[in-house]
Structure formats: C-alpha cells, structure tokens
Symmetry: C2
Subunit: 359 residues, 2 copies
C-alpha cells in the first residue's frame, strides 16, 4: 500500500506513557499487515509550551494538517494552570487543532466490556451489554461562539459572557454524521437539546426533525438535556446513538463513559467532512499518576484501532488490535483503574507488552 503519515502527539502527563504503548502496538500491526504507515512525532500542549513557548507550534500544526490521521495522548496539567486560559494546553493546543482542522464530528462510544462488568458504579443488570455512541459537535456552539469575554459594566463591576450559536449548516453536517452512524448501528437516534428554553436548540431540534425525512430507516427522538442526564443514570441501555452540541456533549459523553466504570478503556474520534481525523482516549492527562507507569494504555491502543478503521481504512488491522485487547482482558490482566480482586495487576508497560503478545 502507499505511504501514509500518522501524526503522533503524546501531549502531557500520562500522555507520554500511554502513547509509548500505543506506538508499540501500531508499529507491530504496521509491520505485520504491511500498512506502510509512517509515524512522525510532535509536541503539543504543556510539553510544547515548555519547549517552544506555545501549545501548538506551527511545525506541529503543519504535521497535523498533512498527516492522514492524528493520534493524541492527552494535554494539560497543574504546571500550566497558572497561564492565561487562552495560552493553556487545552485551549491553545487541543481546541486549536480541532478548530483549525475543522474536526467537527466527535464520536465517543461508551461500551461496557463484558470482562469489566463489575467496574461500573451502576448495578450490573442496568449496564450489562451497554453500547452507546455519543456524537458530539466539536467545533461550534458555546466553545467557539463570538462575542465572548469579560467586560466592565457602567457601574464598575465586571460581567462575563459567552455566546451559544449554531447555524443550519453546522447542525446539518453533524446531523448527517449522527444519522449515518445510527443507520450502521441500531437505527435509533436521540437528539439532546434544551429546546424548552434555548432558541439555539429550538433551531437544532427543527433541523434534526427536518433531516429525519431523509433517513426513514432511523427512528429519531428528542430529549431535554436534564432528562438525558437522568436517563443515562436510570436506564442507559435505552440509547443507541445520541447527538448533541459541543457543551452538552462534553458533559453527557463523560457521564456515559463513566457509566462503564472504565473510562481508561474508551477511545474517541474527531473527524472532518472528509473523514480525516484525530484519535484520542476519552480520559485526560491524569497528572496525579503521571510518570508512575500506572496508567491504563488501552484507551489509546483502542484509539489506534479506531483510527485504522475510520481514517486509514484498514478494518482488519483494527480488528486484530481489538481482539488482542479482548484477549488480555480475558487473561485477567488489569491496570489499577480497572482492577478487581482476583485479577492480575499490571503496569502500563506490562499491559502494552501483553497486547503485543496477544496480537
């Protein structure tokens, strides 16, 4: 096959450790399946601030822009939390990549691995077999809306303000991602909004309703965001695909991931209109355990699989990795976050090695 480039951005905190394992796995399938992938590394986030004074150096962005796919670890940490928000790893690094590459389609699966059924804080019968896909709009809404800022009022006190805004085409393009995902899955799509209060989500609801006519095989429903948060806790298996805006998606996808009790297992994809994208674990940079060889590398390893499937079009290689992960779980190997009595505690590197061995 032709030479393709993967941008490898470890980021900060545990990002380095988990990425090292993911790269081992990627190199292994790259050789074995002759994928012809060329891995190029670059700094982003706090590590880029330390080395180059900016969270997204132009060389890093240039690599991201020409790569066939991006694999990201995680960014941020207390070391950079004193910086103005606009310069921090999250906003100047992560959100800038999303925005500049227009990675508007965020896919966040929340899957309960049968081997980890006990890890959930919910009762087993409520989550057994859980398999939800949250589709979150990622480059619009209140995250990027203008005007925004903090201004001084006439009476001398300050006021902070942000703008929650979506236009029709932004809603349609994320709707398309969600309807198509529902077609490939269980055929049910739940659009989450707050259309009883917010005008921007009234438009959202209207457009989703309009699009439903073009997808007669998808059953569309609507739910208010407060109810969605409740229903995720009460009966999460009622959902198939959920589509929502950037802010609600941030909250609901994290809640959904936590329902599985193993956020250290969950990958995510952020795609542009052509299906090019960035892949990263759902979890953060976990500064509290960084550098301790404790972190769970499986979410990043599964992000590699997701990348091979969605952006590199190598579903067999993806399946190999997913099967290997399933095998190490069957073997009872667990990092601390998913450990339960009776299983075998392993560290980050041991987990990566076990996946390689299982490949």
């Amino acid at each position: 096959s032709t030479q393709r480039t993967i941008a490898i951005l470890p980021g900060d905190g545990i990002g380095h450790e988990i990425m090292a394992e993911a790269v081992k796995v990627l190199e292994s399938v790259n050789a074995r399946c002759e994928l012809g992938l060329n891995l190029e590394h670059a700094l982003v986030g706090g590590s880029a601030i330390d080395a180059h004074g900016t969270a997204l150096p132009e060389a890093t962005f240039e690599l991201c822009a020409r790569a066939d796919a991006i694999l990201l670890g995680a960014v941020g940490g207390p070391k950079w939390d004193k910086l103005p928000v606009a310069e921090r790893p999250e906003k100047a690094g992560l959100l800038e990549i999303r925005r500049r590459l227009d990675l508007f389609g965020n896919l966040r699966p929340a899957i309960l691995y049968p081997q980890l059924a006990d890890a959930s804080s919910l009762k087993p019968e409520l989550v057994a077999g859980l398999d939800i896909l949250i589709v979150r709009e990622l480059t619009g809404g209140i995250y990027f809306g203008q005007p925004r800022g903090i201004r001084v009022l006439e009476n001398g006190e300050r006021e902070g303000y942000n703008t929650y805004v979506y236009n029709e085409s932004q809603i349609r393009r994320i709707g398309k991602v969600a309807f198509e995902a529902a077609q490939k899955r269980g055929g049910r799509l739940c659009s989450v909004d707050k259309a009883n209060v917010l005008e921007v989500t009234m438009l959202w609801r209207e457009i989703m309703e309009d699009m439903a006519k073009d997808y007669p095989d998808v059953e569309l429903s609507h739910m208010y965001v407060d109810n969605a948060a409740m229903q995720l806790i009460r009966a999460p298996k009622q959902f198939d695909v959920v589509v929502t805006g950037n802010m609600f998606g941030d909250i609901l996808s994290d809640a959904a991931a936590m329902l599985t009790g193993s956020i250290g297992m969950l990958p995510s994809a952020s795609l542009d209109v052509n299906g090019r994208g960035m892949y990263e674990p759902c979890h953060g940079s976990a500064p509290d355990i960084a550098g301790q060889n404790k972190a769970n590398p499986l979410a990043t390893i599964l992000s590699v699989a997701m990348m091979l499937r969605y952006s590199i079009n190598e579903p067999e290689a993806a399946q190999l990795i997913e099967d290997a992960v399933s095998k190490v779980l069957d073997q009872g190997l667990r990092t601390g976050d998913i450990f339960s009595p009776g299983s075998t505690l392993v560290n980050t590197v041991e987990m990566g090695d076990a996946v390689i061995a299982a490949l």
Copy 2:
C-alpha cells in the same frame, strides 16, 4: 401567630393530584400547630392557558407576589407543546415566576432515604447515606441572557443564538447562599464551572475564590462540569454542597436527584434575597401517569416541610411532616415509582392519607 398567606399552584398533569395530598397535610399541621396559614389557590401553566389564555395570569402573579410562600406542583404537558415556546407553561409560567420574583437561589437536596436504598441504579455502597445539596443559580445565566433568538444570515440560512452571562453581583449573591449552606452542613463547597473554556465561568471561579476568604470555615474546591458529571456517578458521596450556574445546575441537579433512584421524593426551594420563596418537587408533571392516582405525592409533601422551615420559620411543624414521611416509609408503603418487592403498593391518595395518619 399572625395570619400568613400560602399561594397554592397545582399546575398541570400530576400537579393536581400531588398538590391535593400536600394541601391535606399542610391543612392538618396548620390546624394542629396553629400556624395561622391562609391557603389561596391559583392557576398556572397549561391549566391557566386553558382557562385564561396565558400561563401566568396577573391574578396568579399578584397572589405569588404578596404570599409569604408559594407551593407549586408541576407545569407543562403535550397539550401545550405545540404553542410557541415563549407561551408554553414552562417558559411563560414557571420561568416567569422565577424571574419576576427574582427567585435566584435554588436549593436542590439529593438525599437517599435509607428505606429506599435499593431504588438507586448505583451500587448500594456508593450511595448509602447520600446527602448532597445542589445550589443552582436560577434567574441568570443562559436561561435569561440577552441577546437571544433565531436570525437569518446574509447567505439566507438561519442561526440560533443565546447568551451565557453573569455579572459579579449575581455570582456573589448565589455564592453567599452556597457558602452559608456549606457552613450549616459539612463545611465543604464545590463550585462547578467550565473555566478552561468559557470566560463567563472564569469570572465565576474568580469570584468564588475571592469570597472564600470571608468563609474560612468552608473548604472551597472547583470542578469542571464534565468531571462533575462523572464524579457524581463514580463517587457521589464526595460532595457536600455544590454551587453552579443555571444551565449546569439544571443538568447536575437532575443527575444528582436520579442517583437516589427516588426523584419522586425530592423537594426543592427557590428563594429571593429575603428568603421568600417557591417550593416544588424536583420531578415534572409526568403527563403519562396524570389523572391515574398513581403519582408519588411525597416530594410535594416534603416541599411543604421545606417551606415551613425556610420561609415560614416553623421548624417544628416541618419536622412533624418529615417524621411522618419517614414513618410511612418504615411501614413499607410505596407508590409505583419507589416500589420494590416485599413492600406495599399504594396510590396517591392512600399515600397522602398515610402521612396524615402518621402525623
């Protein structure tokens, strides 16, 4: 004691049934404890639209404005969902009372009744003894921010927009409610924001931080809203008091309530600067079971207790009601929403009668 007025607003759906039971209980303690409360009824929401063409008739508002406290059932239902949002029961009724009376301080306790430990979807050990108070700002933020609407862009497509805005004094006054509540409880306050992305919540965080100096006995922490949604599911007992804005509070308070598995048990208060307020159950108008004598009246009955405690200053009468509710739970009486095998299924009226008997 002097003559005091309570506005009774049953609202829509199950509102009528649950309010009838709450009024029975209130009349009973009113007589027994000689509270001198004068109950005046009025229509709000859909029932007011049907009778008077508007969700908040002036006579209803006038009663609310002069009453010492307001007891509300619930508003809304499919019958009025075809109306323009601005005329619907929720926005033109409920949100208008909140706004016009400036009921900015919303207290939403999430308490797990020991008798109902099984009702939670979380594992018992994670929620046993759960007792969180969510303090939600209720008359500001994106719910009421201007500008808002749906406009046509130059290219002919539409764009929806809302404004998330808080000024310093709005933040300070809800902060005061929250810090004082934390002082009276476990001394811990967690302020929830999205200060890594939204400027309005950067100001929020800064003001909370500043106020903390005046409350050395309260331990203030901050959490991003996505993490808060996860932590509520992972380990809800880590929280004592949570303070947040209107939109995040809507989502998190419903999630917290659902953790208890018995949202039909939870009251709420919405207070102005003088502690005058409106009391209502956390649940909605449940059109699906309206008129069937099935709804759980205990959240409304407990709202009566909360009202007597916070706005009417009759803590003993409040305690009487709370003890009576605890007694009927001990007796194993359950409405459908909290029913579990081995307990006795009762209907709305029977539950109300049992509370009266236990008084």
